[in-house]
């Protein structure tokens, strides 16, 4: 998922020549520092906003809400649905203000109009979903759209019935007047759409909300996800559609030197076997035919530019770098080195975090179909649709306005569908072009393609030092982070400021504890393994390092893990608030735990949401068993409490799998894992009971797709220490418990 502070994007085609392979410079997203912050060049893609022809206010019906004459309300979503509930969240805002009935509501993804759909949490510079921003960007925008649509329906009814608008009300999809007259939305929408667009839109007061904050609202899309009806990209059927499977380079940075497909082409149903810049594509009438043929293709690779190091060599280099001075500083309060140098007690620890795969259940895919009108339709899980739109235009030499992005819900994302080079989307476009647009073509990665296709959570090493003075007071804290930049060399590299990729240090550079001397440094490494944001991004490792090292410090001072943190969080009431609530609900320090069970504590802010988690853990025969996790979250206004709970449950499960056993390794540059037998996300028999509590708040809403994840690793690790006396500093636990 994208960082919250995506300040700047510029997809402008700066080069007049359009290369069939992609020129990165063509869609560089740039940020220029100015006195006031970041000033940005951004060129809107595709059709311009339809903001009133005469410059008047924007009609909600042309932008955010469609109502059909049979009464179906379609929310047009700027935000991407990957399971986190963004579609339902936006629909909730519209239903609340519009007064619709949930049974008439659906949601569709839209794009190609940045004025309408640019992410306001990123300054509106680009459309995209990431950094848990979907509700923040939509909060006012979609409530206002719903309210404007309601007022226009009322105005149409008032006109038609000859009654004052003020006497008309809207509830559960029915527009009605005290006289007994009533109508559905469908009957009124034609007249409503031509009403003047209200300029001064009054939103409901919180006391009037029936949907926002409702515990009983269920997701609008739940039934289709229990009967097989929900379609994903893999399920799209188009007449005559071909299926392509890919042979990717065995090492990152290798390229196709040559291939022999003679035997494969003998298979009935094989359409073609072609080389594209990203590998070799086997195109056939269906998936099984393509897979069978793929086995018969031999490819020779040019590995002269490939990454050939194994994971051990990479970590050896990182460990050495961690002992040297950082190449850039992300934070420098006071003089940490001097304070630690003069300290009575010095603590040191080195942490190692592996590469991690997103491993979403729906392997990556995309479909390209040039239709009879010459429009190139691109179906897929388009998390950054305008960027992919641009990439398709570049690789196919097709004008932007002849490309239509069809945004599908995706079978899990976790950040993997927001990638700077568009990977599988680019492949679909390249293959369609290579076969002369003879038929619609779906590129479907196998699980092995997906696991070995790169774009991992980077591996990192953290070197931590802390100093306590003779009174046991924490006087200095150092954190040196070593690892790859997620954004360097991508369209997002404008996010690097003063040598610091924020996604490498977030969660460490802004750690909240009141310590007089704090230094957070970064050394960015050069490794050719492609990396990416992975659910909660920097906080996936920084929270672990900070919160487990803090536990060591607290132990050295003799303090209590909750009270000591609270003492250092006096200026951070929202951190303190969730920690207190989690401790209270878990019965921390009060409730007697079963024999051999221990509590571990962690609190962390990511993406402006605050989460504390208390894990109840035992270690049985060397195996870590997490019995229960009590979480408290502060996300400002809770729009869908049940979705918030679901996302914390999921974030805990996702994060727990990663710290317990997920480990993406390489041998001589080749990825060792190919499937779920060797790369192992959490399964049901490892899932703890999770009890989620939401802090009541009237602050603007923030997100919860990611923030539930970071505290779980350190909470469990801190409990494991209490159970075993072992500080786990090498992840995953499967490795670190025995190291």
């Amino acid at each position: 998922m994208l960082p919250k502070k995506l300040q700047a994007m510029n997809f402008a085609a700066s080069e007049s020549s359009v290369a069939p392979t992609l020129s990165r410079r063509g869609f560089l997203i740039s940020a220029a520092a100015t006195a006031t912050g970041l000033a940005i060049g951004y060129q809107v893609l595709g059709a311009k906003a339809s903001a009133g022809a005469a410059g008047g206010p924007l009609s909600p019906f042309a932008s955010y809400v469609e109502i059909s004459e049979d009464g179906v309300v379609t929310v047009l979503s700027s935000q991407f649905e990957m399971g986190q509930g963004a579609y339902h969240g936006l629909a909730t805002l519209v239903v609340e203000e519009l007064g619709a009935n949930w049974d008439q509501v659906t949601v569709r993804g839209v794009s190609a109009n940045n004025d309408l759909y640019g992410n306001l949490a990123w300054g509106g510079v680009a459309q995209g979903s990431g950094g848990s921003t979907s509700m923040a960007t939509s909060w006012d925008r979609y409530r206002k759209a719903g309210a404007a649509a309601r007022e226009m329906l009322i105005a149409a009814a008032a006109q038609s019935w000859g009654v004052p608008a003020a006497e008309i009300s809207v509830k559960e999809g029915v527009v009605s007047h005290a006289s007994g007259r009533s109508a559905g939305f469908g009957a009124l929408v034609k007249a409503a759409a031509s009403q003047p667009v209200p300029t001064d839109i009054a939103l409901k007061a919180p006391s009037e909300w029936t949907e926002i904050g409702s515990e009983s609202t269920k997701r609008y899309d739940r039934v289709g996800k229990t009967n097989g009806a929900q379609d994903f990209t893999i399920d799209v059927k188009l007449p005559g559609m071909l299926t392509a499977v890919m042979i990717h380079p065995p090492k990152f940075g290798a390229t196709v030197a040559g291939f022999d497909a003679a035997e494969a082409k003998q298979i009935a149903g094989v359409h073609d076997v072609i080389a594209i810049p990203r590998g070799v594509a086997v195109v056939a009438k269906d998936m099984w035919t393509a897979l069978k043929a793929r086995d018969l293709v031999t490819v020779s690779w040019d590995e002269s530019q490939a990454e050939t190091r194994g994971i051990d060599e990479i970590f050896t280099e990182y460990r050495a770098l961690a002992e040297q001075a950082p190449t850039a500083m992300a934070r420098n309060d006071g003089d940490a080195a001097a304070a630690i140098g003069a300290a009575e007690t010095v603590l040191e620890a080195t942490y190692e975090f592996p590469f991690l795969a997103h491993a979403a259940l729906e392997p990556l895919n995309a479909i390209a179909h040039r239709d009879a009108d010459g429009v190139l339709n691109i179906y897929g899980g388009h998390q950054i649709p305008d960027l992919y739109h641009y990439i398709v235009s570049q690789v196919t030499e097709t004008p932007m306005e002849q490309i239509r992005m069809v945004i599908m819900k995706t079978g899990g994302g976790f950040g993997r569908r927001a990638v700077g080079d568009g990977d599988v989307v680019a492949e679909a476009a390249m293959i369609a072009r290579a076969i002369g647009y003879a038929a619609p073509v779906k590129v479907q990665w196998t699980r092995e393609n997906d696991m070995r296709g790169g774009r991992y959570r980077p591996a990192y090493v953290h070197k931590m030092r802390a100093g306590l003075d003779k009174d046991g007071k924490l006087v200095g804290f150092e954190n040196h982070i070593v690892g790859q930049s997620i954004v360097a060399g991508t369209p997002f590299e404008g996010l690097i400021q003063n040598g610091i990729d924020q996604t490498s240090v977030e969660g460490a550079s802004n750690q909240p504890y009141a310590i007089p001397n704090v230094a957070v440094g970064l050394t960015t490494t050069d490794v050719k393994v492609p990396v990416l944001w992975w659910r909660a991004v920097g906080s996936t490792h920084t929270a672990y390092a900070v919160e487990t090292f803090m536990d060591e410090i607290i132990e050295a001072t003799g303090g209590d893990p909750v009270q000591y943190r609270l003492d250092l969080l006096k200026d951070h009431p929202r951190h303190a608030g969730v920690l207190k609530l989690a401790a209270e609900k878990a019965g921390y320090g009060k409730k007697a735990l079963p024999e051999g069970h221990y509590h571990g504590v962690s609190v962390h802010e990511s993406f402006a949401s605050y989460v504390a988690e208390i894990a109840e853990v035992s270690v049985e025969g060397g195996e870590v068993v997490v019995h229960k996790v009590t979480a408290a979250v502060d996300v400002g206004t809770a729009i869908n409490p049940d979705t918030i709970k679901a996302q914390v449950e999921g974030g805990v499960g996702f994060g727990l799998g990663s710290v317990l056993q997920e480990d993406l390794t390489l041998t001589q540059g080749a990825v060792d894992q190919g499937n779920y037998d060797s790369y192992m996300p959490l399964r049901i028999d490892q899932m703890p009971e999770i009890d989620v509590h939401i802090v009541e708040s009237d602050a603007p809403p923030t997100g919860i797709g990611e923030p539930g994840l970071p505290p779980i690793g350190p909470a469990v690790a801190n409990a494991v220490y209490r159970a075993t006396g072992t500080r786990v500093r090498i992840l995953p636990f499967a490795k670190g418990m025995v190291a």
């Binding site: 097989g228 995706t410 479907q444 449950e649 499960g653």
Partner: protein, 153 residues
């Protein structure tokens, strides 16, 4: 080679290799897409269907071995147990992305047909072959218990 597959009570003639996985015959030849591909090696359970009432991974079942069997997919389960499972799934808002849920429901319905009052341990054992990357497991457990309760009533 032509085979007759009986899926959800209806016969489908499909022209596929006998060793083609049933998964791809169901999805590509028959056109029922509720059954999902996730791993191809029986590690994720997204492709779970019932063969004569028994849950199997269709990615590891050859078409020739399914000929003559009653094949049931997510689109075709409609008995009392399966309906209770689906309703409990919706009422507890189990799905997030939803991609694995067809397979989860097929496994859960089979569990409840065999074991009407499963314990948490029974659930963990029967469902541990079904991966959910969104980790909806707590609600899966809850929905299976809820369906069991409703079926008992």
């Amino acid at each position: 080679m032509e085979h007759v597959l009986k899926i959800n009570g209806q016969e489908h003639r499909v022209d596929v290799d006998p060793d083609q996985p049933l998964l791809w015959a169901i999805r590509d030849a028959v056109g029922l897409t509720g059954t999902k591909y996730g791993c191809g090696v029986a590690q994720c359970g997204a492709c779970t269907v019932h063969l004569n009432g028994v849950p199997v991974r269709s990615c590891q079942t050859f078409v020739e071995d399914a000929v003559g069997a009653e094949i049931t997919t997510i689109e075709g389960i409609g008995d009392k147990v399966a309906t209770a499972v689906q309703e409990a799934w919706a009422d507890l808002d189990v799905p997030q992305c939803g991609y694995c849920q067809s397979g989860q429901i097929m496994s859960a319905a089979a569990l409840l047909s065999e074991t009407p009052k499963p314990t948490d341990a029974d659930i963990d054992s029967a469902m541990s072959g079904n991966l959910c990357r969104c980790a909806t497991y707590q609600r899966i457990r809850g929905a299976i218990h809820e369906a069991a309760k409703r079926l008992e009533a």
